[in-house]
């Protein structure tokens, strides 16, 4: 097929058009609407002119918004750190110590829990950690006092989220470890470095792109999680998504809710860009 650049471009655009039109109408337009609403004057359930930045000054002036943003950020970063630290040795084990033909079986085992009903898993934690629940009753049966972990809302939110998004972290780290040239490791050890030093100086830097990708993949859904704070945290410790719901649906304050959504999107965006830039350093360094 002797395609000229022009006809190739036309064919490509024609082919992608159904999907492109769908996402433009149903994703780009709604996101733009949120952006516009966030600078409009609002009442209950409607928006009107004039344009204003009041919604943003309101966000800045009330400390509860900043508190929820900061809390969500800290919870998500803690969960991300725990998840990645726990996932690294697992990915390392599968990549370096499992026979090649068994690797996909191990990965399959690790991913199964992720694909089983998220809502059931989170709700189960509610039963596991709750007052008089599975943990407490198990402790009682061996004569220990109850922990009642669920009463520590933030702690239980962190436990549940770290569990829910764990498999997300293993896969990217595994993929980057698989790419590490094994002969480099032999070279390091031939030149007299210990296995630990070889790991720190060769394997770890080479696998950093996977680590950062894993961090990003865990961070984004965690920071926007709705179900866990609502159910496990008993709604006492709302995070970003819960506040957006309150603003947009319960109070029907579209402009204020939109402004908060825009600010949280910006925050997620900034953290993601930091991760990506950090990643670039390693990709640049390894080539």
């Amino acid at each position: 097929m002797a395609a000229t650049p022009g006809s190739e471009a036309r064919a490509g655009l024609k082919l992608i058009s159904p999907t492109a039109i769908y996402v433009i109408l149903l994703l780009a337009v709604p996101l733009a609407t949120v952006l516009i609403y966030s600078v409009m004057t609002g009442g209950r359930g409607n928006v009107s002119l004039p344009l204003t930045i009041e919604n943003y000054t309101e966000l800045a002036s009330k400390s509860v918004y900043g508190y929820i943003l900061l809390k969500s950020l800290l919870v998500a970063l803690t969960v991300t750190a725990i998840t990645v630290l726990l996932a690294y040795p697992v990915a390392y084990f599968v990549s370096f110590h499992v026979k090649p033909e068994r690797k996909s079986l191990w990965l399959f085992l690790i991913t199964i829990p992720f694909w089983t009903s998220y809502i059931i898993r989170v709700s189960l934690w509610f039963v596991i950690l709750g007052y008089g629940g599975i943990v407490d009753s198990a402790l009682a049966s061996i004569g220990l006092p109850p922990l009642n972990i669920a009463s520590y809302s933030i702690l239980s939110i962190i436990i549940v989220l770290a569990h829910a998004y764990a498999p997300f972290a293993v896969l990217p780290i595994f993929v980057s470890l698989e790419k590490v040239d094994r002969s480099l490791l032999e070279a390091g050890q031939d030149l007299g470095e210990s296995r630990w030093v070889t790991f720190l100086r060769v394997t770890l830097p080479l696998s950093m792109p996977g680590v950062i990708a894993a961090a990003l993949i865990v961070f984004i859904p965690t920071v926007g999680d709705y179900v866990t704070p609502e159910l496990v945290g008993d709604g006492k410790e709302p995070m970003i998504a819960n506040l957006i719901e309150t603003q947009l649906l319960k109070l029907q304050n579209f402009p204020q809710g939109s402004a908060f959504a825009v600010v949280s999107m910006l925050m997620v965006g900034i953290v993601s860009v930091v991760f990506v830039l950090w990643n670039r350093r390693y990709i640049g360094g390894s080539k």
Binding site: A9, G12, L13, L15, I16, P18, T19, A20, Y22, V23, L26, L27, P30, L31, V34, Y37, V90, F93, V94, H97, V98, S104, L107, T111, P113, T116, S117, Y118, I119, I120, S123, L124, W125, F126, I128, I134, S137, A138, S141, H163, A166, P167, L171, F174, E178, L216, I220, P221, G224, Y226, L231, I240, E245, L248, L249, S258, A261, M265, V268, S272
Partner: protein, 268 residues
């Protein structure tokens, strides 16, 4: 295999991952309304209660309709996007593909709320249909990711040969390309089905209280008396998704074997 510590750690990690799922059947068959130790004895009463629940049946039917529609639509949209991005170079490709994949890096709540605000402003009533529309946005990136690797492993000379032998572009696609990427299409369909069936945020906010399985489960867990029958339901769902996933994994491997590639790991 060396590294006993790493091995022990990995097994411990798997135990942590699986612990809620392992507890599910234990308490689903436990003869006690309170979900706590010590176990009370064996019963199938919770399964009977679950099957007798009329609302649950409606919710399950709605979820099934939604998941089948979402899986079909997302996979079709995924085929268009993946094929176009693998096969052609065209202006605006990077931003368009970026927009299509955007829901992967956007908190789901934002996608749901943005869509909801527009629907409410336009006065469109919320229904199962609006849930489908929203979930397709979430599932399409997964479909595109799976299908892109399926199209990439395709040998282009096969298509060229078919065209040279006088097939039209469409019949080439139908006779050569489609059968070769079929395993990828099946995998994409199954993954999208699973994601949609499980999805909560869009089902909750764009469904306006319609009985949908994930929303129904979320509501029922607030009533302690309902928890055991929800655990029975969970057990059924877990078995169901393990079967589906096993099938999806089988299709994926067959696809890789068909295209003559080497297996490089799990999903995504």
């Amino acid at each position: 295999m060396k590294a006993p510590y790493l091995r022990a750690f990995t097994l411990f990690y798997l135990l942590f991952l699986y612990s809620p799922i392992l507890l599910l059947p234990i308490f689903a068959f436990n003869d006690g309304r309170v979900v706590a130790f010590p176990l009370q004895g064996f019963t199938t009463a919770w399964f009977a209660e679950m099957f007798a629940d009329q609302n649950l049946r409606i919710a399950a039917k709605n979820s099934l309709v939604i998941a089948l529609s979402v899986a079909t639509l997302s996979t079709v949209l995924g085929i268009f996007a993946a094929r176009a991005s693998v096969r052609y170079r065209f202006p605006g490709k990077a931003p368009l593909m970026g927009l299509i994949m955007l829901p992967l890096v956007l908190p789901e709540m934002i996608v749901a709320m943005a869509l909801l605000v527009v629907l409410l402003s336009m006065g469109i009533p919320l229904s199962l249909f609006t849930v489908i529309v929203g979930q397709v946005l979430i599932c399409t990136p997964f479909a595109v990711a799976i299908l892109t690797s399926a199209f990439q492993s395709l040998d282009r000379s096969l298509e060229e040969a078919a065209l040279d032998l006088g097939e039209t572009p469409w019949s080439t696609f139908r006779l050569i390309v489609l059968p070769l990427v079929m395993p990828g299409i099946m995998a994409s369909f199954l993954i999208c089905f699973t994601i949609s069936f499980d999805e909560f945020i869009i089902a909750n906010f764009l469904g306006s209280g319609q009985p949908i399985l994930s929303v129904y489960i979320f509501g029922q867990f607030r009533f302690p008396a309902k928890v055991p029958s929800m655990l029975a339901l969970g057990t059924v769902l877990v078995c169901f998704s393990i079967i589906l996933l096993g099938f999806a994994e089988y299709m994926r491997r067959r696809g890789i074997a068909k295209a003559g590639g080497k297996d490089s790991g799990g999903f995504l």
